[in-house]
Amino acid sequence: MTDNSSINRPLGTRVVAWGVLLLITLWAVLPILWSLSASFKTPLTLYTGGFLPDDPTFDNYRRVLTSDGFPNYMMNSLFLALVSTAITLFVSVLAAYGFARYAFRWRHILLLFILIPRILPRASLIIPLYDLVESLNLLDTYTVLIITYTATAVPMATWILIGFFQAVPKELEEAAAIDGASIWQRIWKVVVPISLPGMVTAGILSLREAWNEFPFVLAFTTSSDMRTLPYQLFLMRDSMGITDWPLINAFTITTIVPILFLYLLFERQIVNGLTSGAVK
């Protein structure tokens, strides 16, 4: 009923609604389009001419891709993002299952507590964390980045998954238990696959966080081998005297592409109403 109700709305209302939507879309998309356009220009033509480059050049991209260490930074970013996302999902599934399925004392308080790492400003964590990391001898290692990325992503992923897990009918787990599944098998073979949209959502968000993370990698690493793409982007701007905006934009777009590709790949996996047909 709600699906076709817009058909009956007056033309004026629809025009206004579409206008608002268009504005919001432009607001979100314009900067990216501008960046995309700039990446095909040269520093000289950046501020002249129209929105579209008159004489598009791939030179910026060639320079990004062939620059010193670029493959290394890309691999660092990919490695850190994938590993921390995998750990995040593993930990969050278990945490969310506990919160979703068991009633225990202090459950609500605990649920609020696990949000603390996200409520505190990241900058305020850096100095105490630095002390800790230094005393553990973990400075300039992948380990420290994976730990911090996982620690900040787990609360968000847990909160997302709790809702999805609670929506899985309890009878499905009971049926699985009677079918001979242990609690471990019930979680990974029944609850998690049914919550696939939630898993994808939590996974992509934590992947994106790790991919874009900047303050921690800046604070906890020193050697150039450890640099990630955002770190390198930051250095490019700092160390080059006259800022080469087209080059930076080409770098930015190159950084966005892999994550955008993942979004598009998984968007199709997010099938709504996956649970329909389970019960009743």
């Binding site: 049926a175 009677i178 001979g180 049914i194 047909g277 019960v279």
Partner: protein, 358 residues
């Protein structure tokens, strides 16, 4: 195959008592129906047998072995849920074979058993579909397939037909019965529908408030309900419970006098008692001979007619095995068939047995 024995089984949630101490033996291969109104504890009892609820006190045995602390997955039971509980992300085949996979059955054996179960339930063409592409009846059959594929020692059914429409329900009723005849598996079936209980059970267990009211063959329970609750619950339409009092060598109901026929007045009858009369045992009699009543509802069912009549503020139901041209507002005179009347003590609510006829 195995028997199920419950001795002194209780369930409490804190101070709340759900099951008050149940003793029940389900023989190997028997089909037992637990029946009662909602909240009577029948589902809880079933879930305790399944291992989905803990047992607060008492002992449950499956095949002679105490299972109080055996987890559901190790009890060798199969259960069909009211809402089917099919895995939505798995195909019909994967749903049915899941339990075999969990038990690491070899692939060839697994395929053979899944195909056999699918054949038996006419699911073969549907094996590659997901549950959401199935109708309610098909989903129900998949749930059955998932249960039978494993050849468990006990089948548990938790109101498996209540989500189906009336026609399908009758069909599935027959199919489950036929399956049971074929597999001879010990089955415990929970329902609130007394027609299902009557038609399906080798034995029915009528429950109320966590207490067993009566256990017996359906027809025995129908013929000799042990108390007022069972009398009113088993049988459709329900039995008429008519307050009566002894009057000399006969008895009175709502001002009309009736004589004891056959064996005469039963012994041990209190002055006031309740006469239970099945709707088919309530008759229309000539004006002035029985209880005066006003017709309030007439339900012509084609071959039969059900009429609800009022005597003062009390309503009684009459079932006629033919068509009756009754009109709402008609005055009729009704009389019970005294020979078939069930007698109950209004104080204890329990049955008063008649002396055997001479």
């Amino acid at each position: 195959m195995a028997s199920v024995t419950l001795s002194g089984v209780q369930k409490h949630f804190g101070a709340l008592e759900i099951i008050a101490g149940i003793d029940l033996t389900i023989e190997d291969g028997e089909f037992v129906v637990l029946v009662g109104p909602s909240g009577c504890g029948k589902s809880t009892l079933l879930r305790m047998i399944a291992g989905l609820e803990s047992i607060s006190a008492g002992e449950a045995r499956i095949g002679g072995k105490v299972v109080n602390n055996v987890p559901a997955k190790d009890r060798d039971i199969a259960m069909v849920f009211q809402n089917y509980a099919l895995y939505p992300h798995k195909t019909v085949r994967q749903n049915i074979e899941f339990s075999l996979r969990m038990r690491k059955t070899p692939k060839a054996e697994m395929d053979r058993r899944v195909n056999e179960a699918a054949e038996l339930l006419a699911l073969t063409p549907l094996l590659d579909r997901t549950p959401r592409a199935l109708s309610g009846g098909q989903r129900q059959r998949v749930a059955m397939g998932r249960a039978i594929v494993r050849d468990p020692s006990v089948f548990l059914f938790d109101e498996p037909l209540s989500n189906l429409d009336a026609k399908l329900r009758v069909e599935m009723r027959a199919q489950i019965k036929a399956l049971h005849r074929r597999l001879r598996a010990t089955s415990v079936y929970v329902t609130h529908d007394q027609v299902e209980a009557m038609t399906m059970g080798d034995k029915i267990v009528v429950m109320r408030g966590g207490v067993i009211q009566q256990v017996g063959r359906p027809i025995d329970v129908y013929d000799a309900p042990q108390n007022l609750f069972v009398a009113g619950f088993i049988g459709s339409p329900s039995m008429n419970l008519m307050p009566a009092n002894v009057d000399g060598d006969g008895f009175m109901i709502s001002g009309a006098r009736f004589g004891w026929r056959g064996g005469g007045r039963p012994g041990d009858l209190p002055k006031n008692f309740i006469g239970g009369v099945r709707p088919e045992n309530l008759r229309l009699v000539a004006p002035g001979e029985g209880i005066a009543a006003i017709v309030e509802v007439v339900e012509p069912m084609g071959g039969e007619t059900v009429a609800s009549v009022a005597v003062g503020n009390t309503k009684y139901t009459i079932l006629f095995r033919d068509r009756r041209p009754l009109e709402i507002g008609d005055e009729v005179f009704i009389a019970p068939e005294v020979e078939t009347m069930h007698l109950f003590d209004p104080e204890t609510e329990s049955r008063i047995d008649r002396k055997p006829r001479l």
